[in-house]
């Protein structure tokens, strides 16, 4: 993981999210307050715009700037959660050394763990954590393997399955929790955007 990797991922994710924006917008309108897509898009735009300011910085500093941007520029549940994710990543030890796949996995795992603590949501509560926690568990299995690319295909599959699984859940966290039975039948918007993010990153890593 490098600063340029982060920047190119942000750009890739931005493209995919934009392509799927109509769908995500509708999901948060159905079971939330409709702002999720704008929150995510605003965050991605801010991070992509950071390129010039961070491209020559050490990774820790760059992650920190990203964390601050995300935290102060998004708002809502996703701002707090992704802000927490990057803040935790930025605090990882030994960021001045080379960050290989194993180290990158550990950083992501700790970031997701911090999100889980921040939001107090576990798997099965119809949030983005339904995607992120299983992904983090899978990364934990993969992190020491040298042939991790095929493993990433499984991550893609897990993310998709778990995203789809939110459809028939009752929500117990986030705005959808107020809906009771009426939340059923709709995929969670945060689960969908997270799955698209995971999907994009994994595919990009596999193809490089």
């Amino acid at each position: 993981m490098s600063v340029s990797f982060l920047i190119s991922q942000a750009k890739g994710i931005q493209k995919v999210i934009d392509e799927n924006s109509a769908e995500i917008e509708v999901l948060d309108q159905k079971i939330g307050d409709g702002d999720h897509i704008f929150n995510i898009q605003r965050g991605l735009k801010l991070v992509v715009e950071l390129e010039d300011s961070i491209k020559d910085l050490p990774l820790a500093k760059a992650l920190n700037m990203i964390a601050m941007k995300v935290l102060s520029g998004i708002g809502g549940s996703s701002g707090a959660l992704f802000g927490t994710f990057f803040m935790t990543m930025a605090k990882s030890p030994d960021l001045d050394k080379d960050v290989d796949f194993n180290k990158a996995c550990e950083m992501i795992i700790s970031g997701i763990k911090a999100m889980k603590e921040r939001g107090k949501a576990d798997v099965g509560e119809k949030t983005m954590m339904d995607v992120l926690i299983p992904v983090s568990e899978k990364l934990n299995e993969l992190k020491n393997e040298s042939e991790f690319k095929s493993g990433l295909n499984e991550v893609i599959k897990i993310a998709e399955e778990r995203m789809l699984s939110t459809k028939d859940m009752l929500a117990t966290k986030g705005r959808a929790s107020f809906l009771g039975e009426r939340a059923k039948g709709h995929i969670d918007p945060g689960a969908r955007s997270s799955q698209l993010i995971i999907d994009t990153i994994c595919k990009s890593v596999i193809n490089n």
Binding site: F38, G79, G83, T84, L170, R175, S177
Partner: protein, 330 residues
């Protein structure tokens, strides 16, 4: 989309700037991070109250900054909780040494962002979470109820106690009491339109209403055919009374809140219907508030809040307040 708007990115900034200019005798608007604070800093030793939340509910919360109510308000983007740096900056700006009480509506985004703001702020602070919406049942399967219009009452009443030298602990305790004593439910006839979306949040038939709607246009208890006001008001009050169970001799404040697009004439008609129904059930109405205070953009609809009042609450409700949107006694 039919709005006074120049471009979506500047919508809030421009609106906040105008708000600041129109009320420069009462408040200051800080941009980046954005927060509204009192023109005259609070006196030393007074607990500072800070609230905030997504924009789109105006005059809440910026309109409630001033003597007798909030010290600062942090507006997020439309319907998105504000960010921790706003709360941190606001707290640093207003704290006069007696600590900061954050007043937070119960939504996960608000809770998380206020928590982070509180963690980032080094001074003494505490928070209360409002959750007065009885539309969505409290159960082990949900994070609890939504915080809606009673937040206005909490801010007014705790604001008065803070002005009267209440400690951080006392302010928190009173705020929790007001929240516990209040129940709210709303109904929407039309959707709101988030500027960034450019189209209505939900579709609704010409003869339909959303019963138990949230203040972001979130679905409520059920979608129904529109009924006469008295029926709607009766159903809302039933849900609230079920929940609050006021005693016969208890005094109550009745708050009819417009969602933004409903004219005052109708809100007063709702108030009248509510008075009649409450009277027939032996519920005393001692204080009243009618108007657009906790809105949902241009949504047509209204919510009703009932607040059970003891002498402490009554005293702090009546005490002087001087903000852009609520003013009496001074």
């Amino acid at each position: 989309m039919k709005k006074f708007i120049n471009n979506n990115d500047d919508f809030l900034k421009e609106s906040l700037t105008g708000f600041g200019k129109a009320h420069s005798d009462i408040i200051n608007v800080n941009l980046d991070p954005s927060f509204v604070s009192r023109k005259n800093k609070t006196k030393d030793g007074k607990v500072s109250l800070i609230s905030g939340g997504g924009s789109g509910h105006e005059p809440m919360h910026g309109g409630f900054v001033g003597h007798g109510m909030l010290d600062a308000a942090c507006p997020g983007f439309v319907f998105s909780a504000p960010t921790p740096d706003q709360m941190q900056a606001a707290a640093e700006h207003v704290d006069s040494g007696a600590g900061v009480l954050f007043i937070v509506k119960n939504y996960s985004g608000d809770i998380m962002n206020f928590q982070m703001g509180a963690e980032m702020y080094s001074g003494k602070n505490d928070s209360i979470v409002t959750n007065d919406d009885v539309a969505v049942e409290d159960s082990t399967f949900t994070t609890g109820r939504r915080g809606v219009a009673a937040t206005v009452l909490v801010e007014k009443i705790v604001g008065s106690l803070a002005e009267h030298s209440g400690s951080l602990e006392e302010c928190k305790k009173l705020g929790e009491k007001v929240n516990k004593n209040a129940g709210t439910m709303g109904v929407a006839f039309t959707s709101c339109t988030v500027p960034a979306a450019g189209k209505p949040t939900f579709d609704i038939g010409d003869d339909e209403m959303e019963f138990g709607v949230g203040i972001h246009g979130e679905p409520g208890r059920k979608r129904e055919k529109i009924q006469p006001s008295k029926t709607i008001v009766g159903n809302i009050l039933e849900a609230i009374l079920d929940n609050l169970k006021p005693e016969k001799n208890e005094k109550n404040l009745l708050f009819v809140n417009g969602m933004g697009g409903t004219p005052l004439t109708e809100l007063y008609l709702v108030y009248e219907d509510a008075c009649q129904i409450l009277q027939s059930k032996g519920v005393q109405v001692t204080k009243s508030l009618v108007g657009n205070y906790c809105t949902s953009l241009e949504m047509q609809g209204a919510s009703i809040t009932l607040l059970k009042c003891d002498d402490e609450i009554l005293k702090h409700w009546d005490s002087p307040v001087h903000t852009a949107a609520m003013r009496w006694g001074m």
